[in-house]
């Protein structure tokens, strides 16, 4: 009898828990579900009233049209070029910078680290408006190269901060032991620091990629030529003065979420350990 009431209490607790959890899950995931089903609806069904909760006639026509009748494939390539290039530049520079901030005890390093954190709080629009005229003077406006340079610069403070935390978690004693054994700084860096820091560097790179892939404000301000647009700005440009092309917006939403979802699954395990308190958005 005693065990039975205990079991009953446990089951009742679980039921209450899931009664709370299910609305939370629906709330978190419904917009994704809605974009997903909308992407498979034929145009009459998509624009029809009332809206259908499930797809009545699944069609891939929207995907086919998106890939053949719009510049979306080009936007994908542009996003990829910009994200990969900016991430590469950012990660290489930030790795050197973070190593310096954690392994050398020079005057002003706290002020510098705080200054970097301050820069990372700058709103995109505050930097973007003057940067527009600066890029114009450098002939870098409306070009992927300009976007790559701008992205490397705005992602640097955050990546530096993130990598600094990763480098800090590598115990100094290993390097000190190597120094005692006569290793040079370059050798220590190559044999000890780099292998230990690699998971952190990869996680930071993935994070920077996500930021670049999602970036909208700079691309919105700096790019006007249709074929130079990135995915977020391309998506937004489907809202036209002659009507909104929702039949293209949803398939592109799903396609552009696929790489992000893979990245997310990769870094998820790092989220609770190292990234807490260092996120931006």
């Amino acid at each position: 009898m005693n065990i039975n009431t205990k079991q009953l209490k446990f089951i009742a607790g679980r039921i209450v828990l899931w009664i709370v959890l299910i609305p939370i899950i629906v709330y978190s995931t419904f917009p994704v579900y809605w974009a997903f089903v909308s992407s498979f609806k034929s145009q009459p069904e998509l624009f029809g009233n009332p809206p259908t909760l499930f797809v009545e006639n699944i069609t891939l026509q929207n995907y086919v049209d998106l890939l053949t009748k719009t510049p979306a494939p080009q936007w994908f390539v542009n996003s990829l070029i910009v994200s990969v290039s900016a991430t590469s530049i950012c990660i290489v520079l930030a790795s050197f910078g973070a190593y310096s901030l954690t392994r050398f005890r020079f005057r002003g390093r706290y002020v510098l680290a705080n200054g970097i954190l301050f820069v990372y709080m700058f709103p995109a629009i505050m930097v973007g408006i003057p940067l527009f005229f600066f890029l114009d003077r450098l002939n870098l406006l409306d070009s992927l190269l300009g976007l790559i340079i701008a992205y490397s610069s705005i992602t640097l403070p955050f990546t530096l901060w993130l990598l600094r935390a990763f480098f800090q978690s590598i115990p100094l004693s290993l390097e000190e032991a190597a120094f005692v054994d006569g290793a040079t700084r370059a050798q220590t860096l190559r044999i000890i620091v780099l292998p230990l820091a690699l998971p952190g560097i990869v996680a930071s790179a993935v994070f920077t990629m996500i930021t670049c892939w999602n970036e909208y404000v700079f691309a919105f301000l700096f790019i006007f030529t249709e074929t130079y647009k990135t995915v977020p700005v391309g998506l937004h440009s489907f809202l036209t003065q002659h009507g909104n092309l929702w039949q293209y917006i949803f398939p592109l939403t799903i396609l552009s979420a696929v790489p992000l979802f893979l990245f997310f699954l990769y870094i998820e395990k790092h989220l609770l350990e190292t990234l807490g308190g260092a996120l931006k958005g």
Binding site: I24, R107, I129, L235
Partner: protein, 292 residues
């Protein structure tokens, strides 16, 4: 020792150069633009002193943008903290399927932003939007509601999207702290006869306090800075009812081609931001904390 400091600065130099040229310099450039009458087409400016600021403060839109920004700020922050802490406490319990539920709850923060804002805009549509349809079906409303096309509701509607997207940020930070609480604390309290409620009040809450302080400051800054969800969902409208300071700055510089006025707004944004950032840096000393 002299040599080591040189190497240290050498390693930092490329990063600092890039940040200085393409982030710091534009902000300084923006200050100078705010004192100029700058022509968009010819890209030339003439110095006019505080004229841009004077015009700005004479404009009732600045006050409205400030109030809108305050609504946007408070409307986002309070629900995000309450929901975020609540979700984190629930997701910190042990139950089957916890990993998957955590992933699903954190997901909104990692999805492509613009496409999700567009999806919300579609869900808000008055004619065949799913939100009106569901509310009508269950009998909560009779007439279709103009979620994003009425001056009364537009701000609330974009705030809901902000809360949806950024609550996971709070959940993540709180979960990270909760999972690092030493479990022996709870066991000791249990042995001493503390109830579940007492354990929550005396162990969990004090541990969460510091992380909540950090999250409030960071989320506050990022919320204040936001531009894209408003630009994509309501474009600052209808009738300026969702125009916050960053949106106004964009409209002045690129809509009205008043670059000087837009830059003057940027100066205001910078000043407000600096006050909060200095509070954050002085009180929490994030750089030193990580070192220890």
């Amino acid at each position: 020792m002299q040599n080591r400091a040189t190497v240290a600065w050498l390693f930092l130099f490329p990063s600092l150069l890039l940040i200085s040229a393409f982030t710091l310099y534009p902000v300084i450039y923006s200050f100078t633009l705010s004192f100029q009458d700058f022509q968009f087409l010819t890209l030339t400016g003439t110095w006019i002193g505080f004229e841009n600021y004077r015009r700005l403060f004479d404009d009732p839109m600045l006050g409205r943008a400030f109030v809108n920004g305050l609504l946007w700020f408070v409307g986002n922050l309070i629900p995000q903290i309450i929901l975020g802490v609540g979700f984190a406490l629930i997701l910190n319990m042990k139950f089957r399927g916890r990993g998957i539920v955590r992933t699903l709850v954190i997901l909104p923060y990692f999805l492509p932003g613009i496409s999700m804002f567009l999806t919300w805009r579609w869900m808000y549509y008055d004619v065949n939007g799913i939100i009106n349809h569901v509310l009508q079906s269950v009998g909560l409303i009779d007439d279709r509601i103009l979620w994003i096309n009425s001056t009364n509701l537009a701000m609330m509607s974009v705030v809901v999207v902000g809360v949806w997207r950024y609550t996971p940020f709070v959940v993540l930070n709180c979960l990270a702290r909760l999972s690092s609480i030493d479990s022996t604390l709870y066991e000791a309290a249990k042995v001493d006869g503390a109830s579940v409620f007492q354990r929550f009040i005396y162990i969990t809450l004090p541990q969460l306090r510091s992380v909540i302080l950090i999250v409030v400051l960071l989320r506050g800054i990022f919320t204040f800075n936001k531009f894209e969800e408003i630009n994509v969902i309501t474009e600052g409208g209808p009738l300026g009812s969702t125009t916050t300071l960053p949106v106004l700055s964009y409209e002045r510089a690129f809509g009205a081609l008043e670059v000087g006025e837009g830059s003057a707004i940027n100066t205001l944004i910078f000043l407000i931001l600096s006050v909060v950032a200095v509070l954050y840096l002085l009180n929490l000393k994030p750089a030193k904390e990580l070192d220890e």
